[in-house]
Amino acid sequence: MLRSRITPCLLVHRKGLVKTVNFKEPKYVGDPINAVKIFNEKEVDELIVLDIDATKEKRGPDFTLIRNLAAECRMPFCYGGGVSSVEQARKIISLGAEKVALSSAVINNPFLCKEIGNAVGVQSVVVVLDVRKRKLLGGYDIFTHNGKVKSKRKFKEFIVELNHIGVGEIVVNSIDNDGKMTGYDMELATLVRDLCDTPITILGGAGSLDHIKKIITKFKVIGAAAGSLFVFKGKYKAVLINYPNREEKFPLY
């Protein structure tokens, strides 16, 4: 049986790993390479690493870091942050990453997905959308630059457009739920699942294995990603890299 993917998502800020709350208050949680070594031991399904400085600082991806991370990873590894060209994407894949995550560049120019897909294979193209719930009108808005810049694109229409262009995966990240550990935005997940048949991964809000079980039970095959859940332990949020072992993981499906 094809299993849902349970994926840690790590954020890189000033060369270290951080975890945010609502995309703010980055808290240092450790060294990226060291974290990957631990996640290898724990046999995580997949790993997403996002450089949250690149787009804000108007620079490209850190290829040295990517090379070092990819050399360690024994699982599919997805890298994002500052990727805006076919050449950058090609280089990231050639360094040993399985997937390349795109966000602000494809929100500006969705056709870039197609170009990168032609170069590295559609299955390796991941689009990450950071979204915030609209307070009064309902629905969601897309943001870039770590939640600071609101995009003009309409969320639902953009999901349909990406599905039509053809991408390997859509990661939807809830800014409202980021770091809250109170559960996924199930309404958001349902909306995205209904709009497309591309593989999707939901990020933002997972605080326990029960939250993961709930989303897998509802959607059967889905990507359940989490940051805080896999880097913090206990109610005081002590930094401790963790991940369910096989005995804990298999009952979740």
Partner: protein, 207 residues
């Protein structure tokens, strides 16, 4: 010495990374002369069926591989599209395959699948080691392997099927014929299972 065949813009780094960690000698083969001194081969796969076949033909690798694999019986491991091109033909392309293991590559039938996303078959799936082959020593079948593909290999002869996996239908997740092995999944992305398999392949006593 294991030769990892580079015939395009593929992700070969993931495979060399594993062999480096295992302290097993390997090298990347970029041109014909580099086949010298190699006693087994890994054929990774990237892109589409026709692209891969075209690269193999244009580089002169096809002829060389036929000689090494069919005459000298050097063990070879094809991964994903690297497995598909061992077939006679594919629904994904028009070119003729290598024809090493009789079969045809077909696209998954979406109508057999119940849950979105239908294609590709992407993620971790368990395998059933029906042949109990030594190359799967130390592999946990329930943990399985990482897959990402929309096409599967339909073997003509059942005796070539090494393991099966299910996605809407039962398909061959790995196949073999003497010194020739094809894996649909990605051992280079599959933790200890993949590492065990690549290690077993490196130590396989076949010649």
């Amino acid at each position: 010495m294991i030769g990892i065949i580079n015939y395009g813009s593929g992700n070969i780094e993931a495979i060399t990374n594993i062999y480096n960690r295992l302290n097993i000698e390997c090298k990347v083969i970029n041109k014909l002369a580099e086949f010298d001194g190699v006693d087994r081969l890994v054929l990774p796969g990237v892109g589409s069926f026709d692209e891969c076949m075209k690269q193999l033909i244009d580089s002169g690798f096809k002829e060389k591989l036929n000689k090494l694999v069919l005459e000298s019986k050097i063990p070879i491991l094809g991964i994903c599209i690297g497995m598909h091109i061992m077939a006679n033909s594919s629904e994904e392309g028009d070119l003729e395959g290598l024809g090493w293991i009789p079969g045809k590559v077909k696209k998954f039938d979406k109508t057999l699948l119940v849950n979105k996303p239908y294609l590709p078959h992407m993620g971790w799936n368990n395998i059933n080691n029906i042949h109990n082959h030594i190359i799967f020593t130390g592999v946990n079948e329930n943990q399985g392997f990482y897959f990402v593909h929309s096409y599967y290999y339909e073997c003509k002869n059942e005796q070539n099927i090494l393991t099966v996996c299910n996605y809407g239908l039962d398909f061959s997740s790995s196949i073999f014929n003497e010194n020739i092995f094809g894996m649909q999944f990605h051992p280079e992305k599959s933790h200890s299972n993949g590492e065990n398999l690549l290690n077993n392949f490196a130590k396989l006593d076949i010649c």
